[in-house]
Symmetry: C2
Subunit: 96 residues, 2 copies
């Protein structure tokens, strides 16, 4: 199985497939040379979780709601490509 592996586990009953696909597309475009695969994992019960090689970077029930995309990219970057610049997604401050 290609590595690093990102898994997006989402509740299908909650109709979060397009949301999961959107996150997958954002991460694929940003990290296409640095990740092995992104898996979409259908689940139930209000689950929305993003794991990188088994490490939980987001859990809706733990973290509250859904990640802001720049925040998610920074968390993924720190694990798969620590030296990579994310351009404007790296700029955090009063104007964010």
């Amino acid at each position: 199985m290609p590595s690093p592996r990102i898994a997006i586990t989402f509740c299908t009953q909650c109709r979060w497939m397009l949301r999961a696909q959107w996150y997958a597309g954002e991460l694929l475009q940003t990290f296409e040379g640095e990740i092995g695969e992104i898996a979409l994992v259908p689940a139930t019960g209000g689950t929305f979780r993003i794991d990188v090689d088994g490490e939980q970077v987001w859990n809706r029930k733990r973290d509250g709601g859904f990640p802001e995309i720049t925040e998610l990219k920074r968390a993924v970057r720190d694990l798969v490509a620590p030296g990579k610049s994310l351009g404007h997604a790296d700029r955090v401050g009063p104007s964010e």
Copy 2:
């Protein structure tokens, strides 16, 4: 790793990400209760391949181009849910 696993391996240089995402969405909606995961696997060199639990159901270089969606769903169904009806996608004949 959830099973059955569908892997869509696609050439990023060829800009096939949206195509891969579209196939992933179609398969997720049709088989959400029957598959464990769909992985999007970035690759290079004109690769476009769809595997179900390691079995190659489509290979652009072997099969020529890209699968018609009903044909792909029938091939996946035969492997992961042989008894499942696909409705109009099951009707093949002169009118297709």
